[in-house]
Structures are given as structure tokens and as C-alpha cells.
Subunit: 608 residues, 2 copies
Amino acid sequence: MKESIRVDFEPIGRRVRVDADTSILTAARKAGIGITAVCNGQGTCHQCVIRLVSGKLNPLTDIEKSVFSPQKQSEGWRLACQTIPISDVSLEVPPQSISTQQRLQLEGQQFEGDPAPAVRVVRVSIEPASPMDLRADQTRLKDALETIRPAVDIPIRQLDKISPLLRTQGWQVDLVLNENGTLTGCLGADKRLVGLALDIGTTKLAAYLVDLESGKTMAKMGEVNPQISYGEDVISRIAYANQSDTKKAALQKVLRIAINRLIKRLCKNAHVQPDQIMDAVVVGNTAMHHLFAGLPVRQLGEAPYVPGVSDSLYLPAHELGLDLSPGALVYLPPNIAGFVGSDHISADLACGLLDAGETTMLVDIGTNTEITLRTPLGISCCSCASGPAFEGAHIHSGMRAAAGAIERVFFNSGQWNYTTIGQGPPAGICGSGILDAVAEMRRVGIIDERGVFQPGQAGVEKQGHLSSFQLVPADPVNNVDAIQVTRKDVNEIQLAKAAIRAGIEILLKESQLEANQIQRFIVAGAFGTYLHLPSALAIGMFPPLPEERFFQAGNAAGAGARYMLLVNEFRKQAEALYGRMKYIELTIQKDFQETYMASLLLDNQPIK
Amino acid sequence: MKESIRVDFEPIGRRVRVDADTSILTAARKAGIGITAVCNGQGTCHQCVIRLVSGKLNPLTDIEKSVFSPQKQSEGWRLACQTIPISDVSLEVPPQSISTQQRLQLEGQQFEGDPAPAVRVVRVSIEPASPMDLRADQTRLKDALETIRPAVDIPIRQLDKISPLLRTQGWQVDLVLNENGTLTGCLGADKRLVGLALDIGTTKLAAYLVDLESGKTMAKMGEVNPQISYGEDVISRIAYANQSDTKKAALQKVLRIAINRLIKRLCKNAHVQPDQIMDAVVVGNTAMHHLFAGLPVRQLGEAPYVPGVSDSLYLPAHELGLDLSPGALVYLPPNIAGFVGSDHISADLACGLLDAGETTMLVDIGTNTEITLRTPLGISCCSCASGPAFEGAHIHSGMRAAAGAIERVFFNSGQWNYTTIGQGPPAGICGSGILDAVAEMRRVGIIDERGVFQPGQAGVEKQGHLSSFQLVPADPVNNVDAIQVTRKDVNEIQLAKAAIRAGIEILLKESQLEANQIQRFIVAGAFGTYLHLPSALAIGMFPPLPEERFFQAGNAAGAGARYMLLVNEFRKQAEALYGRMKYIELTIQKDFQETYMASLLLDNQPIK
């Protein structure tokens, strides 16, 4: 009988026992973890990336040596299909290697270090009220706090909770103060001090419940932004809000309800009460920020697209309609511009751009893509209208990254291979899938660098003037429609990647840098995490840099929100970033049009 | 043909033309003004008091010379029934002389002087947004205001109104700032700067819309406090609120709705929009204050009855759910104790008690009666549980001061006379009516000083042990029930007046004063305004002082609220009053019980 070896998968927290000669890819499947592997373990797609945390694996194979840079090798990166455990092992599965049922991306850099949040607990003993001492409860609290912290502001909403507690707890309470000297709440029987970090994306909400004393994330959860039924992108939602105050209020209301539902579910998972949440940090793009905060959005949809508010805000939770401690203040970091919001500041912060010594570029890809360039001399950013193609919209067989979406495409040994999210039959193709498809079509020669379909290629059909490539044939028996990539789809990808590339190039030009001077190139956001980097490089979405300079950062905005929640000083850093940030409005740059045209080509050449 | 003379009645603003030999009482009736005159013009009830403002009247009659002190005579006070106009005249009709349909008392001292409110208008011209100048609207406003007033706080709720206005008004707006440097609003097409003063009584709401530039009251309106359906007095409302958070919220909601309805009606009358209301002052007793502000009330209903908040508050109108300018702050003056609220501070202020040189006593009568004693050495106050008898409650034939209530009772020439509010058939008896009735019953000898019914008096009936006096016999034809004054009614009045008198005496003792050292004795509040002073003196509700020392001040709390709205300095005075006020808790005074017992007697003797 063969030896049984234990394999731990982190951060998912799954454990499985396998025979000694089982590959990690097989072990992961046995553990119910959907590791992406388009080539089905042949070692050709290079997507099943994992990292050894502890224990021993077989030596690196030749395939792995060709895939990973020496640095990556030394960090323990492997391909799951090439790897066999020699001892009990613990492995990290990065999010981009996981194909989940519904991709509501929650991972990102974890905060390491000691929490130093904006709120703290103080135990206060108060003189009881008596006929000889008839001070009001508020006065009594202020007087008792005077020695601990002078001039505490006691918002009157707190008293509804504190006044009865004073009388049932023998005039002793655990009060929570924030650094501005405002009473944010009062701990009840459960003494945990809890905070909420929230990233309001146009498509997705990501929420994290954090223990402010240990720094641990107690629960995290994602949900689709329900505003999506009022418009897929920010422009259509602004247009909807502009129709009437009632419609604007409806947008705000569905968001508020969804956030409160998230809070309730997070709290249930973590066994805490919503009114224990004493602090919150909320990030989002400027339009989401404004709709969340109840700010005007009309001017965000009309040139010159200025924000209503760019400075950071502290807003009372109850004013926002959030079910937190009634005195909790919600911190919203600054917005840089109409289309570069607090979520981008938050991502910059999580990626350490304030104090970065290396020349670093951060690209956060979405319907709108925000880019920051940090050089030793300064920091600048821009916004690119990359459009919704990478979210599967405006694509012939496109769909969002949900179950059934083709997320990886790979041509190998004369065969088109693909994997779907959830491993079921294909229902459409999502952003990372269409990116792969276009890159592979270009590699195989189905299209040229202009995106033009080449005659005589297998799988290419022509209907009238329009060519298309059939990636998956129809299967009427299994009720599967054909999945095609059309000339128009290729064009959408060209427009989207050109917008991003042009932004990158203009920022470089503004700083008088060449692309190869970028030492770290960070790709953030959901699509940025799941995209197959070689495909993005092959079609020239990013400048041709060595692969080891690239980092896929996950939900950096959400990570930054947690940083600001756990360490108050990070809020000051976010504000410092905002203060130093030079915003470059692309549309008024004289080189923009030319750079954009040059960026349309599907190749991996530098742009001059 | 007789000469036609013009008679103007102020402050009602009614004008009438009459023949030269018509009495003013008749003229008033012709003008539709219900002047109180129980004796129907015989000159015996002395209630139809008016004052000559301009023009000429017949000389004083002997009756008037006996009624009015020389000072009152020199001030122009007359009895309407004794007075005939010699020329066109303008007359003041004080509120206590008017019998209105529904007594929602709105009159009180008018503010004389130049307004110096807490808000001011500044016209600001702002640089337009452009691709070269992408500052956020909030930043742009702050920058433009920097030269006018540095560090203005621009609450984000304002931007929803200001951002569109900036763009439609050519980047020029009239902003309203308050003295704390907070932007409270933005004037639209109508440039008037408007404020709201509101007195939340347990029974009645009194609201005033004030032009903050001219100082004029643009509109005033009263309404029954709708919380009355949840309990007639504050104690029963606190008990209701204690039952559940939902019930407490219901109390708050009905009040908010009623106030917003008042605001809407006031604005309609004054032809302004609610969002032009840039400032507000709200006063009320501590329970009303707490329910309005959303503060806990449980501790107000349990010994030792301490307020949740006693300091003054500035609360955002939108947080209170009031339909004012979204940035308006509502000022609530301090509460002195659990049963001495901001309304009493406001009344003290209106009556000039902060700087009073004379020894002054202010008695504000209600279910709870608050008393302030101002001496050259200091200022002290107390609260007396006078109960609801003076509001017609717990009285056999009692009713509130509404149409049909007997409000004056007068025994003359062997006859019992009375008048009703609205002059219709009697439906019951209200506070001032039962006070008169008990005083007249005592004068006539129906009851003795202990309140005991005397045998053999006309109109006295005995059922078992209980005596009662029939003031109005039943009239089945006109569907009128008998109106009786029972032994229990007399007792209720004794308890109520003893509570007030004991408070007066304890305050005097605390300050080591005798009653006759009081130089001004001010009676405020609705009942205090309509009560017939000789009756109150006859039964010893007030100490036996010369009548000219008494002043019936009307709704002094509402007047004080208007003062604080018109002149910001008055808010500081209210806070100074609060700071200097010594609150005397009657129940822990060792003399209290004895003084109270001595005060129960129905006579006009000093209490030692």
C-alpha cells in the first residue's frame, strides 16, 4: 500500500490526503478546488500556477524552468500539473489560478503588521445619577471622559444605546472613541472591536469584516452591485440618475440595501452584531462614491467631467443609511478626478506607491481603466475609456465571468482547447477568454496585426463582408450554441487594449520615460487578476517587458481599504498620495490621438 | 346721517367702520373679533381689556378708574364696553381679551430691534470648470469663499442643489453661511432669507416663519401636537415610548410629519419655499425636546429624572427629518433639568430675566409648571407637578380650551354668568373657566377655604357623600348636558394651585425673600395668558401682590425662540442663563411637604 501524503491548500483552507505519486493538479481536483488548466495537465498552458509554502516537492521540470524566472523559482512558484509532493506540503493557490463559480474577487494583499486603527476602546466608570447629582447623561459622560480625553464629542444618537446600558451595567461602559475625539459607539456584551472595509465597484461589491484588534479578516463577501439593472456602466447610471431625483434616489437605495445585506451576512458569519462595527472605510470610483454619498452626478457625465467632491470625507453611518454603530463615521478617501476615484487611491496605497523606490506602473482594468505611474520624481495618473469588452459586453458570444463562461483559450497540437468557469458546458466567453482567443488567433495566424481575418484559415467563416471564427461548434443535442469570435469582437478588443496602452504610453511620455524603465508593472482588479499575462503581452495591451516585472495584485482597492481601516496612518498616506498626484487628462494631450492609433495594432512591439 | 368712524384692531389687523356712539365692544363684534365679556357690557367683569394705540376715545369712566392703576391708565388701558371712539382709532387687543375658536396661542412679546441672525448671505463668483481646471465643485467653492471667510465647511448635501445652480446661473451663487462657518444653503430665485421658530408644547405646536433680514414674522400657525393621541401628558408618552423602539419611533414620526406640515403651510402663506429656511430655533420641554431630537426618554420617567442632554445642540435639519434647506442647522437651547426644558429658558430669555434689575418671578403654567426667580443676587428655578386640571382634564365637565368651552364664570346680581369659546352653547368647562368657577364659588360662599361645600347654598346638590354645584342646568331640547363643579373638581384645583404656590414659596425661601419683594410677577403660557388674574389671586394660586405687578406674557417660549432666531447673541444669553441657573429639586426640600399643605387652602393669605 502506498504512503498517504497530506496536502494543504491556502488561503482556501482545504486539506486532502493523496497517494505519493499524485500530481498537485489531481490533488486539487480531489479537494474540490478548480485550478485552471486549459491543457489538462500537459504542461503547455502554464496556468496552474501554485507556490510551495512548506514541505517538499519533486525537483523543477524543464517546462517549469522555462516558465519561471530564477527569482520566481527561488520564491517557490510551480505548475500544479508538473508537481508531485515528496512530503506533507502546504501550498498557496493564487487567485488567478482558481476558476471559481462566480468571480467576485475578494483576495488582495494581506496587511502584515500591528493594527493601529482610528478607533480605540476606553472603559469608563461614571458617577450614578441621584437627586443630589442631576447632571444630564451626556454631561456625565463628558465629565467622566475629561481625564481620558478632553472635549470628547458625544453625538446624541449614541445616547439611545448608552443611557440604558449605563443603568443596567452599574454605570460602567466600554466606550469607543475615534482619533478626532468623537464617541463612535459603546461595546455591549461582546467586546470585539470590528471594522468594515467596502469596495464599491461598478459591477461588484466586495466587503470585509475586520477585527480591529487582531487585524484578522473575520469574514469577507462579494455581491453583484444591484445598480447593474439600471445600467451596466457608470455613464448609463449617471444618465439614469439625471432623469429625475426619484431615479437617482432609487440607484442609491438599491445600493444601500445591498450593502446592509452584506453587512448582515458578514456579521452573521463572524458572530457579531452590526452595531459593533465602529469604523468603516469605503472606496469606489468617483461615480460610485458620489452615488453612495448622495452627491450630484450630473457633472460627472458632462464635459469637463469634474467631481462634486474630491477631498476625503468622514460621513456618519446613519446619514448614509448604513447599519453600523450609530456613531460610526465612514471614511471615504479622496477622489482624484471624475474618472479616477478613491478606489484607485486605495489600490495605489495597497501597492505601496507612495514610498515606492522603484519606477512602478499600476494598471487597474475595468470598463474604465485607471493607471498610475510612480517615478522617483513624482506620481501621475490618467483614466482610459477601455470600455466593457473585458467584462464580456459588446462581444458576440460574450458574457460576464460567471459559471459557463470560457475563461481560457489555448491552441495546442492543432486543437482549440478551452476551460469554463465551473467546468460545465460553455455558455459564452468572458473577458479573459476573449483576450486569450484573440491572442491565440493572432499567434495561429487567423488574424493579422490589424485584426483582419486571413482567408483560408480553419474555422473561419464569412457571412457577407463579415468574417468570424468558430471557437466552439453548436451542439444541439446538449443545447449548446456555437461560440464565435467575430471581426467586430476583435475590433472591440483592439479598441479596449489601445485605450489602455495609449494611457500607459502618454503617462510615460509625460514623465519622459521609456517603457523599459518601468521596474514593477502591477495589474490590478478582477479582470487584471484573471487575465493570462502572455496573451495581454502578445497583443500589445501592455508594453513588452520581461514577465517577471509583472505582478497581478488582485483586488488592490479592497486591500487598500483594509489597510486604511487597520492603520489610521494609511488614511493620511492616501491623502498625501492625492496631494502629490498629477492628473493627466488624456483627451487634451496633443499626442493622444496618434498614440492611440499606433496602439491599435495586435503585436508586441514598443510604441514610439 | 351719523358720522362714520374707523376702528383698527391690532395685532389682528381687522378694520371696521362704525357710528360715532358705538362702543368698542360692539365695534369688535361687528369686526368678528370675539372679545371676552362675561357681563355682556355691563362693566362688571372687567375682562374686555383693550389699549389705545392712536386716536381719541371718551374719557375714562368711574368703572375704568376703579379697575386700572394710574400707570395702566397712563398706558392707555381701557375696557371695551366702557369706551366710545371720538376719532378714528387704532386699538391693541391683548390675547387674554380674545376668545378664539381654538386657542393655539401664538402671541407673545414681539422683538424690537435690528436683526443680527446667525446666518448671512454672501454672493460668490466662481471660476468655471474646464479641461484646464478640473477642481471638484466643493474645492472650487471653498477656494472662492477663502477670501470672504476662511475654512468654510461645505456639507456635501448642499452640493446636490448648488452644483446644478452653478452651471445654470453662470457660476454665480448666493450662499448662506452661519456663524460657525458652515454653509447652510444657497438662495434661489427668491432672495429672501427665512428662519423658523418652533415651540413644541406637550399639547400644542406653535410655529413662526420669520424674515431674517427685516425681522418681520411672515406667517405664524398653531397645531395640536399629534402625539396627544399616544398620551395626554409627557409621563404617559414616555411610558408609551418605553414599550418598544417602534412605539418611540411612532411618537417621533407623527411629530415630524406635523412639523413638516406646519412648515409647508407657513411657506405657502408666506410665498416662500421650505428650502429657503436657512436657520431654525426649536424649544420645548425636556421630554418634547428629547422625542424631537431622537434622544432616550426612559430616564426622564424614572427617578431621579435626569435629561439625556442638557447642553444646547445644533442638529442638521435633514437628520431631524425637517424639510428646510438641506444644510440648515436647528438650534435647540439648553435644558435645565428633566422637567425644566429649553422652552423655559426661552421664556426666561424673552422676559429679560438674564439682565433683570428687578426681582422677577416667571411662572409658566402647564401640566408641569416651571418657575424662575430672578433676584439681584442670582437666578433659580424649579418644576411643579401641577397636573392637567388647568387644561380641563380630570375635571367632571372639563374639556380643553376649544369651541364650546366655558372660559369665564362670573356671579353678578344673583346670577351665574359665563361665556364660551366661540360664543356657542356650552359643551364643558376649560382651565380658565374652572379657575373662575372655584374662585366665584369661594367668594359667594358655596365652598369654604378648605374647598368643603357649604350646606344650603343655591345650586348645590348632594349625591351620597359627594356635593356638586350645578353651573349650567341640562337643556335636553338643545342637547346640552348639565355642567357641574364637583367636590373632586375643587380638590383637583386645590392640588394644582398648591403645587404652583408651593414652588413659588420654596424658591422665595431658598433666596431668603418675602413674596412682597417680587417686583414683577410674569405669568406665561396659554392658560397663564387666558386666566382671570383676580380669580387666581382669590384662591391663592399666586401670592397676594398688587395687581399691577402681574404681567401676562403670552407664549413667552415662542417669543424667545424668535428672539434667538433673529439675534444670534440671544443664543449665547440662553446659554449664559443656563450656566447661571440654580435648579431647585422641590421634592428633596425639607420644607416642601409643609409648604404644599399650607398652599392647599383657598384663600389669598401669605404663606409663612
